[in-house]
Structure formats: C-alpha cells, structure tokens
Amino acid sequence: MELPFAITLDVGSSHANRTGSWRVERPIYVDRLPPCNDACPAGENIQRWLYQAEPGDYEMAWRQLVEDNPFPAVMGRICYHLCETACNRAQLDEAVGINAVERFLGDLAIERGWSLPPAGAESGKRVLVVGAGPAGLSATYHLRRLGHQVRLVDSAPKLGGMMRFGIPAYRLPRAVLDAEITRIVALGVDVELGHTVQDIEVERNDGGFDAVFLAVGAQLGRRVEIPAGDSSRVLDAVSLLHRVAEDDPPLLGRRVVVYGGGDTALDAARTARRLGATDAVVVYRRNRERMPAHGDQLEEALVEGVTVRWLSTLSRFDGDRLVLEKMRLNDEGFPEPTGEIEELDADSLVLAVGQDTDLSLLDHAPDVAVDDGVVEVLPTMMTGESGVFAGGDSVPSERTATVAIGHGKRAARGIDAFVSGRAAVNADRHELATFDRVNTWYYSDAQRTRRPELERARRQSTFDEVVGGLTEENALFEARRCLSCGNCFECDNCFGVCPDNAVIKLGPSLRYEFDYDFCKGCGICVQECPCGAIDMVPERI
C-alpha cells in the first residue's frame, strides 16, 4: 500500500538504527573451568558428561567420561569425589551427586556392553608398563588409544593392583572391576602377570622399549615397633586386605583392634566385622576432625558397628590385652602423650599406619631420583631418566586410585610426546567458574538423591556391595542438578532477556552469538546468565 508520508511506516525500518554504537562495554561468551573439573584428579570433564547425561544421552556421556578415565564403574564406587567437595551447588543446597551418576553410567556401560574407543593407528613405538593397578591400566589405555604398543607386567596373579588387593569387595565388586579391566585389555595389550621386574634397566633394554612407565604402587604395609608378646597376632592392613581378596582370610578372633586413621584402617575394621569380629575397634591418635579417612567411610563404618578410640596410641600388646595411652592435641594440633593408660581386650591387632613402595627395581637406574621412598617426577611424569616415567602411589601425591588414574593419563601423554620427539604441552586452563558468578535464582530447588545403602545387618556379615546405584530416574535427576558452572548450557536466558534482540540463537548445541550492531551493552544477559558464561569487557575505542 502507498503509505501516508511519515505518519505510517513500514516494518523492519528500525534496523537502519544501529544502536550498537551506544555501547561502552560489550558482552562476550566465555567458557570457564567448572570447579568439579578443576578438582578431578583424573582430569575428567565432569560437567560435559553430566550435560550429555541430562537429556538421557548416556552412551554419549559415558564416551565423554572414558575420554579421560576408563574406569567409570570403579570410580563410581571408590573415588573420593573431590569434585563434589568443590561443587558450587554445595553452597546452594547440596553438591551434585557426581559420583553416583558416574557409577550409573559405568554400570550401564557394562550392562549394555559398550566398548571403549578403539586403539589408535599403530605408531610402532613400544612402552613397558610396570604395575597393573589404576595408574598402569590408565596409562595402558591411553597409550593404546595413542597407537603405542604396551607390554603390561605385574607381579600379582591378577590385574587391578590395589583396586583388587587393597579395596574390599563390599566397596568394589570384583565383577565390576573385571569388566572394566577386560575392556582395556581388549584394546590389544601384551599382559604378563606373575612377573616381577627386578631391574628396570635390564627389562627396558632387553625388550627394546621406547619408554617405560613405573606404576608399582605402595604395597608394603608399614609397621610400628611396639612390644608385643605374640607377634603372630599382629598383622598389617595391606596384608589383611590382600589375603581377603585372595580368599585366604587370616583368623583374627572376636576382638580386633585396628591402629590408624586412614581409609585403610576403616576398610580393615569393616573387613574384620565381616570376618566375624564382634568388636572392631579403631585406635587413632587424634580426634575425628583430624582423621584423614573420608567422612562417608567413617559414617559407614560406625553404622556397621565399628567403634573408634579417639586420642589414643598403642603402648604395648600383652597377650590378649592391648595397653593404650591417652593423647591430647597441643596448640599446633599434634598429639602429645598424657601418661594416662587404658586397656583393651584384643585377639588381634591390625596396623594401618601407611604403606611403602618397593623401588628395588630402580637400584641400577641412578638417574631416577628417589626421595623419601618415592620417585621424583616432572609434570609430564617423567623421572630423572629419559624415557622412564612414573606415577601412582610410587610418586609423591595423595594415594588414591583416582589420582593414579590421572597419573596414568598424564604419563601416557608425556610418553606420547617423548616417543614422538615432541615437547609435551599442557593445555591452557580456563579461569575458574566461581560460585559468585552463578545466578542461583534460576536453578530449581532440588535436594540431592541418596544412593540406597545395604541394610545394616546384612552388610556386617557379607562382602556384598554396601552402596547401591541410582535408578535411571534418580541419576537423571542428579545430573540435572548440575549448575553447569561457567559453561553455556543453552538455557536461552541471554536470548530472551535482551531488550534489544541483540542475541542470535544459533540452534541446538550451537549456542548463541551477539549482534553487536544492536547490542547497547546493558549487561542484563551477563547478570541473568545462570552459569556465569558471559563476561563484560570494555569496548574497543
């Protein structure tokens, strides 16, 4: 229609007015490092796999997960989930149950028989991995994916290391462990069990390996010297757990005392209960706050009837009487003896005071530096000897399976760079997605889903798994509690809240971009982004 001049206007004509020129600051999309990812010793992209699990794409989520860690089902049981400690949602209500979702995905993968991504194109390089625990298996997996041949040796008769011989079956059923190990071996690994490497130099040279990864663990239970009338009643926790794992449990009697304050001490006490002990008493020098064992492990032990003598140390073991000395904490928090004595009836004493690593295979490897019983390594996990890498419990770090798995991955990458003659590069880490950047309003209130726990009476006497998995519905619920800190999850808020329609929605999984022709720089999108994935930056002049 021929429109009356100036009074009547055609639609779309305001596009001629580029209001972007008003702007003094511009919004930009950013990806920040979520605290869960930041905290994960195995370097998992947790937020990403939760994101993929959210719509129910479990296989995609699992595939994202095993990019970094080939043991989701194991992790979902024994990982101490620093991710959850770091989780920003903990400041809102409760941390996301990442570990439970991981287990759900891991179990589903086993149930459905999903296989790991195939080995990479053969590089022609050969790597010797010594030790088939979490570090060694993780390294093996990643090396195979990078196309390197792996010879995996272990002195034990079975694969798994401490996952098999240190962690009780009620926490990690062997079928689960076997399933995840089998998947790795299926990538094509030259395995030799029952083989103890005596001299790493000889083994490396004889085999013509391009690189070596040492993951021998810390298998030697430490002892403390106390006067003991009958030393046959004293044993270390590592041995106890190992023998139980090999179906050769020692006779402990009805009254078992465990000395130590770590997770291993609790594992020993809980195992003792299952072996028939009526009294399983943990003796620990400090108080509960200072106990290194993880809180949920202690909770479970207490529920199962394990008791703890806090602020107590061993004085001597006399026949069936254990003499304890009460301690107190000084101002620095160190325990000091009080001289006050207590006695305890005990049929046996289990020492859980730490483990040492057997590094005799390095006796002829002078370039490998050892300090305080552990091997010194560079950030690439390479030791002082070129081409020799180390990880897991045998290097300085926290001794958990998850850390070991992370070492395995990092070592594999270091080895890959080494054998390819490249410098190892560490990917830049994004800035941390802190809680203050989260707009909590947008997240629905939702309490964490608890995993079912085995009925107490039942678990005191069996090695059945204590903690059950989540149902699919609960796992989904839990995944969807993720705040997606610092990473766009396509909630459309920026697209919706812009008063100037200056956000362009690119479509599913493509996110958004700003239309700077019209963005006036008001910053509402930044303020209303739930997860803090938009920054304001000064406009260029």
Binding site: P4, A6, I7, T8, V11
Partner: protein, 417 residues
C-alpha cells in the same frame, strides 16, 4: 420521497444508508436524536453490520472512531459544543492520521455560561484541526451532505464534519427526501482505506515526526484540502445528477447578480437572510447573499468570484473571536482583500438568540446607508451592558455577570436563584 421528518431523524436515516460500520454514541444536546435513532436501527438489526458503541465520553467517541477507521471500518459519530471541545485532541489526531471519519456537529454555543442553544462557536473552535467542515442550510442539505461527506472523506483520507444548526435544524420537522438506499449504494462505494491495520500487511500508524518532516506532513494535509476544493463541486454535481437536487458545493450565491451589498453567512440562517434580502430587494436595494457550504477548506477563489461585483460585504456570523471580532469575516477578508469592497461583521444569534428578519432588514438598510460599524452585535441590549458595567465599576465583588444579567432581566432569574 418527501417526508415530514425531524432533521435529526433525516440525518440518522441517511447516515444509516451510508452503511456506517462503527457508530459511537455519547449524549449531548442537540445531537442526541441522531445517535439515538441510529442506535435503535442497529439494535433492531435494520442497520447491519454495524457496531453501535455507547462510550463514556466524547473523547472516547472520537478515539473509538479513530481505531475503527484505522482498522478499515466506516466510522461515524455525532457531537456538539462542549462535547466537541472534550474530544478536540482526538479531533486533531483523526485529521493528522488522515482517517476518513464522518461526524455530525449539531452546532451549539460553548460555555460558560452554559448554553445548549445554537451558534457556531464549536465549529470555529476546531477550524484549524484539519477536518473538512461543511455547513448545511436545510435539513435536506444536512442529509445530503452526509452522503457526500463519506465519499469525500474516503476519497481523500480526510475526516469530514457536517455542521447543522442545533435545534434550528436538528429538531425541526420539515419535508425531507431521505436518499434511497439504492441511490446511496450507487453513489458511495465501499470504504477502501489508504492505510489499514492488517496482520497480513503490518504497518506502524502514528509515528513520531520531528522537525525534519513535520512541516511537509502538515503541508500534505493542506494539499489534501486544496484537492477537496476540486472534489467538493464535482461531488455536488455528481450528487445532483444522481439524486436530482442541488446540495453541497463550495458556495451558494442568491440574488448576487448586480448586488451592491452581499451578505455572507453559514448554515440555516441563510434562509432568514434570503427572506430579508427579498425584502430589501422589494424596497429597491440591490442586495444579495452568498452562503458558504465549505468552511474548511475555505474556497477563497469561489468566494472572491461570488463577491466580485459587490461594493459592500456584510458577514453575518454566529460566532466571534473574543477580543478581535469576526472569524468567518477574516476568511472573507482574505478572499476580498484586493476587491475594493468594504467589509462589515455582524455577530448574531449567539447562544440561540433568534435572528429575525426584521433585525436583518434593519441591519441591511443601515449597511446600504454605510452606517454599519465594522463589527456589530445584532440586537444587543445595551441597557443590560451598561448596568452590569456600572455594577462592576461600583463594587469589586460584583458577582457573576451571567446571573446578574438574568436577574436584571427579571424573567428567568428565579430559576437560577
């Protein structure tokens, strides 16, 4: 077919035959009979389709009409006096938006003092609004002008106000040939808007226009009025052809050939003036009269031509500009400024005061003697004026003049008490 019928009724029936689609009603004397009649027709279903809307004010009446017209409906309403003033913002707006609304203005005085009777103060108050203003001399013409008004408005996208004198026409029963439906249908095509609110072709109507274009917009409105000066006579001719009678046009001269003195006026008073002219002609004076039908647009050329032979021009108007004088007179003066004639203003009939043939003849006789003041208030009671001025001079708190005057008259003062 000629019928004895009230003017309002004739207008209502004629408007109905123009098939208005939205009619707003707000009561104000003396236009009420028009919208009452239309309301009844809509309610009875004899005027259909039509939305008859009882609004809460004249402001709303015009506003509803604006919305209806912009959405493509033929819109009609009627008002008078204070009602017109109450809607004046919307009156201007309708014109500014170029919406072809037709409105009957039953001319009435404006208070204070409040007065329901006829004069032209209301029409003059919206003189500059951009509406076309056509003045009816008779009820027949009032009816006929509405038919022409819709066509004119819609052809030009300009609103048209048909002015008819309150009571004198609206309430007068006389013979009117109400245009037949078939004739109206043949004369008036369906409304085809120049701009319309249509989801299939969205536009924004009513933009804010700044200094860069406002003058051009106003000039375009002026051009449409200049176009109307062309259209109005041709429509009147077409109407005459279709209906067999003369109605409308720009000006209507009466006995102006050889006239030395020509009276100019608007509306129904022309009838009385013609009688007076006849009287003066009988007395041997060469007088004539020019009635102006189209007050806006003002037909400068037609008025100049009609007055070209006159030595004296007397403008009789039912309104005036306080502190100045005639309103119509200034327009006529503009038309005759180089014609060499004298121009006198006679203000008459304010607030419904009867304009009698005798007074007019006396006035014309005075005019012929060149004894008329430049501005004359016909039949002004100078005694009342003097007495009130004396009161005001004597005491500060002299009270309201209107009531003083009534009390002074001694007739109706007791009603007001």
């Amino acid at each position: 077919m000629l019928r004895q019928i009230e003017g309002s009724r004739a207008v209502a029936e004629t408007v109905a035959r123009c098939r208005p689609e939205v009619v707003c009603a707000y009561p104000i004397s003396p236009q009420t009979h028009i919208i009452e009649a239309i309301g009844a027709m809509v309610k009875a279903g004899t005027l259909s389709p039509c939305e008859f809307i009882n609004v809460e004010s004249e402001f709303a009446a015009m506003s509803v009409s604006i919305g209806a017209s912009a959405a493509g409906a033929r819109a009609f309403t009627a008002t008078a006096s204070q009602g017109l003033l109450f809607m004046i913002e919307a009156v201007y707006n309708a014109a500014g938006l170029g919406l072809p609304i037709v409105m009957t203005l039953a001319n009435r005085a404006i208070g204070a003092p409040i007065n329901i009777w006829n004069d032209h103060s209301d029409a003059m108050a919206v003189r500059d609004s951009g509406w076309i203003q056509l003045f009816a001399e008779t009820n027949q013409e009032a009816a006929d002008l509405h038919v022409q008004a819709f066509r004119l408005a819609e052809e030009l996208s300009v609103p048209v106000m048909v002015c008819m004198d309150g009571f004198i026409l609206t309430h007068a029963v006389e013979g009117v040939d109400v245009p037949e439906q078939s004739d109206v249908d043949a004369f008036l095509p369906p409304y085809e808007p120049r701009q319309v609110l249509d989801p299939d072709d969205p536009v924004s109507i009513g933009a804010m226009v700044g200094p860069e274009a406002f003058e051009e917009v106003r000039y375009l409105a002026h051009l449409r009025h200049l176009d109307a000066l062309e259209r109005i006579p041709s429509l009147a001719a077409a109407f005459a052809e279709a209906f067999g009678r003369q109605s409308g046009g720009l000006v209507r001269p009466y006995r102006t050939e050889d006239a030395e003195t020509i009276v100019v006026a608007l509306g129904s008073v022309l009838g009385t003036i013609k009688d007076a002219v006849d009287g003066r002609r009988d007395a041997g004076e060469r007088v004539g009269v020019v009635g102006i039908t189209s007050f806006r647009p003002f037909p400068l050329d037609a008025v100049r031509d009609a007055l070209s032979g006159a030595r004296r021009v007397v403008v009789v108007e039912k309104a005036f500009s306080v502190g100045f004088g005639g309103v119509l007179s200034t327009d006529v003066a503009m038309a005759t400024h180089d014609a060499g004639c004298s121009l006198r203003t006679v203000v008459a009939g304010l607030g419904g005061r009867a304009i009698t043939r005798r007074s007019l003849e006396e006035m014309l006789a005075a005019a012929s003697r060149d004894e008329l003041d430049s501005v004359t208030f016909l039949d002004l009671d100078h005694g009342i004026i003097e007495r009130e001025r004396a009161r005001m001079g004597a005491t500060r708190r002299s009270g309201p003049s209107a009531e003083n005057v009534l009390r002074d008259l001694g007739t109706v003062a007791s009603w007001i008490g």
